[in-house]
């Protein structure tokens, strides 16, 4: 295998490992906010690593730009979904008591 194939293999395997760890965290974490954290951060990094590995493997085909597009789009959209879920979870009091050391929003919410 060439150097590029080794790099592609490493990226894909590491990305899949991150996806697996994110799934384990989604099962094991105790409440919605912590699960949202796991679903957003390692999952998105794992997906981008897999896309990078696939782009290296498919280099030379004309439309590999689509993988770059998916990666950029994922980077932009995942925080939006996480924010929406976190905001809704907070407003419905789905976090553990004492979890927030400083709750700056606590008195402002109507």
């Amino acid at each position: 295998m060439t150097l590029w194939q080794w790099l592609s293999a490493a990226l894909i395997l590491f990305g899949a490992t991150l996806a697996l760890t994110a799934a384990i965290a989604i099962v094991r974490f105790p409440d919605t906010l912590t699960r949202m954290h796991a679903a957003t951060k390692p999952q998105v990094v794992g997906l981008i690593l897999v896309l990078a590995g696939a782009a290296i493997e498919l280099y030379g085909h004309g439309n590999v730009w689509a993988l770059v597009l998916v990666g950029l789009f994922t980077l932009l959209t995942a925080p939006v979904v996480a924010h929406l879920i976190g905001r809704t979870a907070y407003r419905e009091q789905r976090h553990r008591d004492g979890l927030l050391t400083v709750n700056e929003l606590g008195n402002e919410i109507d």
């Binding site: 996806a19 697996l20 699960r35 997906l47 897999v50 498919l58 689509a66 993988l67 789009f73 979904v81």
Partner: protein
Amino acid sequence: MTVVAIVAGVMLTAAAVLTSYRILAGPSTLDRVVGIDSLMAIAASGLAVWAAYSQDTTLLPAIIALALVGFLGSAAVSRFRVRDDQ
């Protein structure tokens, strides 16, 4: 590359099964939204691994569609869903 695709496929399948547990168990709809969002990312990863293994670029539009629809679905459900009964 075959071994890499198999190992990555097994890991992604295990991740999908674990995420499916969270989708089934809940307990709240927000947890299910988290699970669905995660499952979409795992599906996109699986498609990318298959595209890399088979050298087939006709899968790329499917990955784009999956990313777009996954985002729209998760954002819409989070924003517009009815509050859970306590």
